[in-house]
């Protein structure tokens, strides 16, 4: 079949809201965009385990420790589904992980910020997971089937995480003077990086237009960011805390909150590797992978030894 016909069938399916499945024909660029996005998403889950994992051993109560452990474990599970979804597009988990370690593949820049106090665990749940959910709810309807289905599962757990994060901050906001200060400080530090999670302005975003046409994305960066601001500006009132933005104000005409400009210089610097923890995060992942090499080799060698012996010639005869 000529290429134009294949492309037409493909786009017709997308327009008719029929999911693209692994064995369907797809344009090379669609495949690549999905691989890039899904693996970036998987890496974000895995690298995202580190800033929160930091606080597992220091969580302030046994209940909080158990909740945090379960949460970080959920992130590992999300990484696993997403690496599997990427594999359906013909890339191996090992290759995908190598791309992370070589710096070729990116992960969400938010995880390059440090977790300094316990309140940061609350702020990450509330703001970072909150921002991620808006993106992920949209991705439940993304055009590539395996990605959309992974997202449905992930969304359920993420919204639970967001509530847990909010609850951590809520307890702090009702606590001692020190706890309240800790809570406000964490919000101050995580607010702007959370807004950056939605990526550059639509006018600056290189991948957006084609992704919208292919229904990989269904809402633009700026649209999602506005939804987020509208949601959080209301929730922060419940905490009795403030968002660190003098320009934040309800706009009767647009029926949205106006807000200040993001520091794009900081954004691009963190993307380029100059964030406070870029080095540590990547080093931690590489170290885990390298130190695990002998374990993976041993498991493979053992599995090979225990494989049922095939009688000589059996394969040829079969």
């Amino acid at each position: 079949m000529p290429l134009q016909d294949l492309e037409k069938i493909f786009q017709d399916k997308i327009d008719a809201e029929i999911k693209i499945e692994p064995k369907d024909w797809m344009p090379e660029a669609y495949r690549k965009t999905n691989i890039r996005q899904i693996s970036q998403h998987a890496h974000s889950e895995i690298v995202g385990m580190l800033p929160e994992g930091n606080w597992i051993t220091r969580a302030p109560s046994l209940k909080r420790k158990a909740i945090l452990l379960a949460k970080v474990q959920d992130e590992a599970g999300h990484g696993l589904y997403l690496y599997s979804a990427a594999e359906t597009l013909g890339t191996s988990r090992e290759q995908t992980i190598n791309d992370l370690h070589s710096g070729k593949a990116k992960y969400s820049s938010i995880f390059n910020y440090p977790t300094l106090t316990w309140a940061d665990i609350g702020a990450i749940g509330w703001l970072v997971d909150g921002a991620a959910i808006l993106n992920q709810v949209m991705l439940c309807r993304t055009s590539y089937g395996p990605y959309a289905r992974a997202m449905v599962r992930i969304c359920k757990e993420e919204s639970f995480h967001q509530r847990q994060g909010f609850e951590i901050l809520w307890v702090l906001s009702k606590g001692t003077r020190e706890q309240k200060a800790m809570c406000q400080d964490a919000i101050n530090r995580w607010w702007w990086p959370s807004l950056m999670m939605f990526g550059p302005h639509d006018s600056e975003s290189t991948n957006s237009e084609q992704s919208m046409l292919w229904k990989i994305k269904r809402k633009s960066n700026d649209e999602l960011r506005q939804n987020f601001v509208d949601m959080i500006a209301e929730q922060v009132k419940v905490l009795g805390m403030k968002l660190p933005d003098d320009k934040l104000k309800w706009n009767e005409q647009t029926r949205h909150y106006d807000f200040g400009e993001i520091n794009w210089d900081e954004f691009w610097n963190v993307v380029k590797g100059n964030g406070p923890c870029n080095k540590e995060r990547l080093e931690a992942r590489k170290k885990a992978w390298e130190e695990g090499k002998w374990v993976r080799e041993a498991a493979a060698a053992y599995a090979e030894k225990r494989k049922p012996q095939t009688p000589k010639g059996a394969l040829e005869a079969a």
Partner: protein, 259 residues
């Protein structure tokens, strides 16, 4: 006095689970492969859950008898699981030394888990079957289901690493050398556990299980040799102080707060 020793025993069970759970939780995000990162975190979660059950029960017993804390220090208000986990110092912790040993490499973590899970398996089984205290027997019964999985998982890894590559075998032998001297203590009864538990029986079952798995893993079963003891009565290795410094930081830095 009898009641005190029962509280000590409950705390001992709790401390074992908490400290080993804490050690395993240090792996979270750093495991050798994603599936095993999830598995070790799961085990950690189970152990912390067990610790909570035992601490809650100990706190209840202590509140009921309106006792000063076992170490005589004022805690303020009622005992809770968190006060017991976060406000006692090294000398009051009653966990076995094996639980607090560092993670080392994956081989050491696996072997520590295998030794401990085997011990917990037979211990909980005995508690479940023959301990006169219903609540303790019930916690043991619930925990036994989890420990059965921990034992299976760690046994499989001992076999895989023992009989895997030359390097994995070397690492297992090294772990064995490090950890073996801490296994004896599991079966040396402290004053608070003598009248209830048949440790001799647990020791026999433990040794048989370890021999079976080691034989499949082509690992040598060591001679008894010198064994360290003391953890059960608060004589710990230097490791525990650092664990507590991290574990208890928040409660010590911000006392009397809700979290």
């Amino acid at each position: 006095m009898k009641q005190d020793s029962f509280i000590y025993y409950t705390l001992h069970l709790a401390d074992n689970a908490l400290i080993l759970g804490h050690r395993n939780s240090e792996w979270c995000g750093h495991g050798p492969v994603l599936e095993q990162d999830i598995a070790i975190t799961n085990i950690s979660l189970d152990l912390i859950g067990q610790a909570r059950n035992f601490y809650q029960y100990a706190a209840k017993l202590m509140n009921k008898q309106n006792a000063p804390s076992p170490n005589g220090k004022e805690v303020g208000g009622e005992f809770t699981e968190d006060k017991l986990a976060y406000l006692r110092d090294v000398r009051e912790f009653k966990n076995c030394l094996l639980a607090e040993q560092p993670n080392g490499d994956w081989a050491q973590t696996i072997l520590r888990q295998f030794f401990f899970s085997t011990y917990q398996f037979y211990l909980y089984r005995q508690l479940q079957e023959s301990h006169p205290d219903e609540q303790l027997a019930a916690i043991a019964a619930k925990s036994l289901k989890e420990v059965t999985y921990h034992l299976r998982w760690s046994s499989e890894w001992v076999i895989r690493l023992g009989d895997g590559t030359e390097e994995s075998r070397k690492r297992m032998l090294n772990a064995l050398e490090n950890l073996w001297p801490y296994t004896g203590e599991l079966f040396v009864p402290a004053a608070y556990e003598t009248d209830r538990m048949d440790l001799k029986n647990i020791k026999e079952q433990w040794a048989q299980k370890v021999k079976d798995i080691f034989s499949e893993a082509t690992l040598p079963y060591p001679a008894e040799g010198w064994m360290h003891t003391g953890g059960k009565t608060g004589m710990h290795t230097e490791q525990l102080g650092f664990i507590l410094a991290e574990l208890q930081f928040m409660q010590r830095a911000y006392p009397n707060s809700e979290w």
